[in-house]
């Protein structure tokens, strides 16, 4: 049984290494994600953000512009997730006390 597990792990590692051989080189300007237009002819968002982030919001940190402006509804969802997690701790950790007091 242990041999099977080791075999499966080795096989999975082999698959991952084989897949990583096809990755593009880092920092290559000819990569698809650095192109101005994608294969289907639509503009690439990363290129637009790098070019226009300062002109849109006059903010040098373009990560802040993407997080707060271009992807603001996503950030709103993240905030609600954090808020819900806090409320769930209130439900989970405080109900135990009441049950023991009874």
């Amino acid at each position: 049984m242990k041999l099977y597990k080791i075999l499966i792990l080795a096989l999975f590692a082999g698959v991952l290494i084989y897949a990583s051989l096809d990755l593009p080189y880092r920092g290559d300007p000819d990569n698809l994600m650095h192109a101005e237009r994608s294969i289907t002819g639509t503009p690439v968002i990363g290129n637009y953000a790098i070019q226009e982030a300062y002109n849109d919001a006059h903010t040098p940190n373009m990560v802040t512009v993407i997080l707060g402006d271009y992807r603001s509804i996503d950030t709103f969802g993240e905030q609600i997730v954090i808020y819900t997690a806090g409320l769930i701790t209130l439900l989970v950790l405080r109900s135990r006390r009441r049950r023991k007091n009874r």
Partner: protein, 146 residues
């Protein structure tokens, strides 16, 4: 806190450190436009400054700093700041959370976007701080009475 006795040396050290951590947290929130940082990181730092007093001083001393019942309203205020910013823009004629249409007179659209990003970062920071403190309080309460 089972052990009621608090160490005065630890309390003195954390009293010295806590205001500076809190000021640095606000700096991280408001300086997020120019350096790495923003609402989430700054909120975590604010929570660290509050939790330092709670860990070192116990419940009696932490009650003087930030009461436990303040946590939930503070988190809701953070969410409402974010949501009302988006809703105000929507009523002013833009899309939801499109800060270029904020109804502040005499400002160019890019300065409006700058201001909008700042407002929502403050909201995120408040929520993250209140929720982290709330998680700590609930864990301590469950341990005390369990």
């Amino acid at each position: 806190m089972r052990n009621k006795h608090t160490s005065p040396i630890v309390l003195l050290g954390s009293r010295l450190l806590s205001p500076y951590i809190m000021v640095f947290g606000w700096y991280v929130i408001f300086h997020g436009h120019y350096s790495p940082g923003g609402g989430f990181q700054g909120g975590a730092l604010l929570a660290a400054s509050v939790l330092l007093i709670r860990v070192s001083g116990g419940r009696l001393i932490s009650r003087m700093q930030l009461q436990e019942y303040v946590n939930t309203p503070l988190a809701i205020v953070g969410v409402i700041i974010y949501f009302l910013t988006g809703l105000t823009v929507m009523f002013a004629g833009g899309y939801f959370l499109d800060y270029g249409e904020l109804p502040i007179p005499g400002m160019e659209p890019y300065w409006l976007r700058y201001t909008g990003i700042l407002i929502i970062e403050v909201g995120i920071g408040l929520t993250v701080m209140a929720i982290l403190v709330m998680i700590y309080d609930n864990m301590v309460k469950g341990e005390d009475y369990g």
